[in-house]
Structures are given as structure tokens and as C-alpha cells.
């Protein structure tokens, strides 16, 4: 009730829904991976759930700290591997034993022994495609615009800074509160970033 009233007045941190959606989130930056990890854990403990970390290299434990689910890529790949495997069997059986029956060197029209290399190759080929394209898809590549780059010091994430974004989609998100919170975690430069 009070919140609704405050947001109608447009006081800082209680902006109307429309204004709030223009914000991507709040980004803070940290000196070391350990500081970043500590900040993530503190933020999780404080109840924030929509977070993203940006760092120049992979940091062990970040996924767990962020509560990120395991990638479904493996499951996608096994499906395509099995498709490749069965496609190879079908291809060789149909061409050799159905469509163009030709006895070569006294071999059976279709046998598993010589088919296995093709089964293996097609399974690997489709797995490789599924891995790369699936990874692109899951990482939303290509993305032509990302609000992260509105953060003035975003280049640090490719160099020596460890950034943490708490996104506006978080149910607990109040821009000013989050800014204070990240500063209290030890962020050197905290910005409210536009969407």
C-alpha cells in the first residue's frame, strides 16, 4: 500500500514500473576474484537472486555461488549423437541393402563391422555441431546489444576487474538500495546502469 503510493510519487528507489524497467541493474566492481565471490555470497544471503558476474577469466565456484543451474548442453549433444548414429545405420543399410544392391568382394550387403566407422563419424560430427551451435544458442550468441556495456568501466571485465551485476528483474531490486549494498560489499565503482 505504502509502496504503491511512494512509487506513484516517483520518489528515488520507488520509481513507477515504467521508469524502473529502463534500468538494467546495478553493477559494482571488485579487486580480486575472492572479493567477487564474497560479494556474490553476501548478495545471495541478502536474498538477491538475479545476478551476473563478469570476469576476465573463469573463476571456480562462481557458478555455485550464483546458483546457476548446470548447462543442459550435454543432454542436447547426446540426442544429436544418437541421431547421427542411427542416421549412419539407416544410410548404409538403405544404400547398400535396399536401393543399390551390389555385392562387393563377397561382403554382405549390409553388415555392422564396416558400418561402425561411419556410425562413429556421424555421431561425432552431429555432436560437434550440436555442441558449438547449442553453446551459441544457450549463450544467446549473437547478441547485438547488451546493457552491460552502458556501465562506464565495462572494459575492466576484460582486464583486471571483477564485476557483479544485480539485475533489475530481481524481485528485491531497488536501485538505490542495491547500490548501497554493493558499496558495502567493497565495490570500488558502483553504477546504476540503464537498460
Amino acid at each position: 500500500m505504502l509502496e504503491a503510493l511512494l512509487s506513484r510519487l516517483g520518489l528515488p528507489g520507488y520509481e513507477p514500473e515504467a521508469a524502473r524497467q529502463k534500468i538494467y541493474g546495478v553493477i559494482g566492481d571488485f579487486d580480486t576474484p575472492e572479493d567477487l565471490l564474497r560479494a556474490i555470497r553476501t548478495a545471495r544471503a541478502a536474498g538477491y537472486t538475479r545476478m551476473e558476474a563478469y570476469s576476465p577469466f573463469p573463476i571456480h565456484g562462481v557458478d555455485e555461488a550464483l546458483g546457476a543451474p548446470r548447462s543442459p548442453l550435454g543432454k542436447i549433444v547426446i540426442v544429436f549423437a544418437l541421431i547421427g548414429l542411427s542416421a549412419a545405420v539407416l544410410l548404409q543399410w538403405w544404400t547398400g541393402a535396399v536401393d543399390y544392391r551390389l555385392i562387393i568382394a563377397g561382403k554382405p550387403l549390409f553388415a555392422f563391422e564396416p558400418s561402425v566407422p561411419i556410425m562413429f563419424e556421424l555421431a561425432v560430427l552431429l555432436s560437434a555441431f550440436a555442441t558449438v551451435l547449442g553453446m551459441f544458442h544457450l549463450n544467446r550468441i549473437p547478441t547485438y546489444y547488451h546493457a552491460f556495456f552502458n556501465y562506464s568501466k565495462h572494459a575492466g571485465a576484460s582486464n583486471d576487474r571483477f564485476l557483479l551485476a544485480i539485475e533489475a528483474g530481481d524481485p528485491k531490486f531497488r536501485a538505490d538500495e542495491v547500490k548501497l549494498f554493493l558499496e558495502s560489499c567493497g565495490s570500488r565503482h558502483t553504477e546504476i546502469v540503464e537498460a
Binding site: H60, G61, R70, G106, K107, P114, P117
Partner: protein, 399 residues
Amino acid sequence: MARHTEHASDSYFLKPEAWSAVRNSLALVALAAWLALAAGYALDRQQFHFSYLVAFAWFASASLGALFFVMVQHLTGSAWSVTVRRLMENMMRTVPLAFVLIVPVFLGIHSVYEWSHPEAARDPVLSQKLGYLNEKWFIIRSLIAIALWSLFALRLYAISRRQDDTGSIEYTKAAAKWSAPGTVALFLTASMASFDWVMSLEPHWWSTMFGVYFLAGGAVGFMATLIAVCLMLRSAGYLTQSIREEHYHDLGKWLFALTTFWAYVTFSQYMLIWYGNLPEETFWYWKRFQGTWKAFGPILVFGHFIIPFFTLLPRANKRNLKLLGFFAGWMMLMHYCDLYWQIMPVLHPKGVALHWLDLAAWLAVGSAYGLVFWAGLREKPLVPVGDPRLEQCLAFHNV
């Protein structure tokens, strides 16, 4: 990282009474099994020599797997494997035992190898091969191979043990330097040994892939044994923090990868011979399709490859220590089936004929290897405490 302190609770030394208890039971098994073997030698000499050869090939190949694997760790500078490496090194240290345990193989040359019979000189194919396949050179080649392996195994073991005291990085570098020529020497000489010990059982037959086939099987046998030993120590309360789920996950990956590599090599050998369809090559497989031997095809295809492949594929299964332990034992059995299938049809061409000597020989050779392995754990640390990568290994996480 601050994580190190929480692992320091692990004891890196076996309790003397626990060590003695295991030593005593191994010695008891050794005593019983060697007595049984002696009885078998008196009762059925040919069966004895064949059963013994399977057992010897099992443990010799697994100890070579250990030697290979330790060298790979040094060459790649692996950090994940440091806490497991001392156990690998103790398995590698059993390599020189082959000097003693090959003696019954030498004694059995006439019972086992067709090329040693006088008729071989009249055989148009074999008579050409006798310059290579003869008793004197069989023994000389075997001893040279074992000597070379022992040189690398004992050298690498000594380097690692010395590092325990000083922690100097120079030992890490020295180990890598020894490992590079070591892998080359190992693959060449192990191919030679596998040609002599196993392939020459059918002296008319040849396969240039046989050496890799032998080593790939040995690597599977080694990795399965290593996982089993780690899990047994764990169940006794040792190394529970130093070899964690993360490390078992990687050991599981290796068991998976080596099983797949074995299948790749085994199948390549089979397919090329199937496709070439030349009688002088196909007869080896044809003999192994006779009678009950036919069952070993599916046993190896499913048991040694398809079942472990699909079971060990998902991440969760490699981290499930019960399942991993089961497959460690399973792959040890499968490595036995593989060697049994290569060797035994020569003695029993009509079909599988299991004999109590098969078990006795495996236990006898195994307990001898086990005792040498176990001797290396007495009052010595279970992990390479001086390795500069130890802390990195303790903090290791799979992505």
C-alpha cells in the same frame, strides 16, 4: 586459498597396525595361492602355464599402465592428480617384480608356444620366423624390456620420493625430463613384449596393432585397480579429504576414456581383418568364434565397452562413488576376460574351460604384486607431500 587448512586433517600415513593387518592378509593369500599353484604345476603343467600367463599378462600390463600414467601426469604437469599420484607410483614401483614372475613363463615356453616345438622348423611360415621367435631371444627381449621399464619406474619413483623431503621444483622438472623418453621407450618395448608374450601364441598370425591393444587393456586394468584401491583406503578412513568427489570424477573420466580407447583399438584391429578377409589373418578370430568362445564377443563388446560407456557417460554417475567402485571391479574382471579370450583358446580350442588354476594364478601373481605395492605404503606418505602442485590439487574443482 583458505581451503587448504580443512584438508590438513587427513592423515598421510597408514597406522602401523592397519598396515600390518593388510600385509598379513595379503601374505596369507599369497601363501595359499602359491601352494595351490605348486600343486597345479604338478597336476596339470600345461593348464598351469596357460593360467599363469593370463595372470602374469594381467598384472604386468596393469603395472605398465601405471608407469605410462605416471609419465603422462609428469608430462602434462597435471595438478588434479597429485594426491592420487603416490598410489599410482606405488603401482608403478611393482614393474621390476616382472623379473621374478616371468620365470614361470620362461619355464613354460615349450608347453605354451608352438614356435618352440621341433615341428616349427618344418612349417613353411614358422621356419622363416624362427630367427626371431626362439627361446634365447624370447628371454633376452623380455629381460631387456623389463629392465628398461624398471629403469624408468624406479627412477621416477625415487625422484618423487626425494621431493617429499625437500619440496624442490627441480624434481618436478627432472620427472618430466625422464617421462618424455620413457613414454617412447615404453610403447616400443611393450609392443615387443606383447608380440612375444601373447601374440606369438598363434605364431602364424600377426597384427601390428597388438601392442597398442595390449597397453590399452593394461591401462584400463590399471585405472580400475587404482580406483578400487583409492576407494578401499577411503572406506578405511584414509585420504577422504585429499581424494574427494572431484578427484574421483576425474578418475572416472579416465576410466571412461581408457575403456573407449580400448574399444577403439580393439575394434580397429577386428574391422581391418574382417574387411581384408585374408585367411591367414581371419583364422585368429575364427578360432575365437568356435563353441562357447563365441560368447566372449558379446561379453567384450557389451561388458568392456557399451555398458561402461553409457553408464560412465553422465557426470552424476562418475561422481557416484558406489557406482564408480562397482565399475572399477567390473573393468578389472573385463580386462581378465579380454586376456583370457586372447590366450586360452590356444589351449582349449573347443570351448571355454574354466579351471581352478585360473583363479589360483590370478591370486598368486596378484598377491605378489599387492605385497610389493603395499610395502611402498609403510611409514611413507600416501601422497607426494613435497609436490609444488599439492595445494592446487587439494583445492581442485571440476568446472
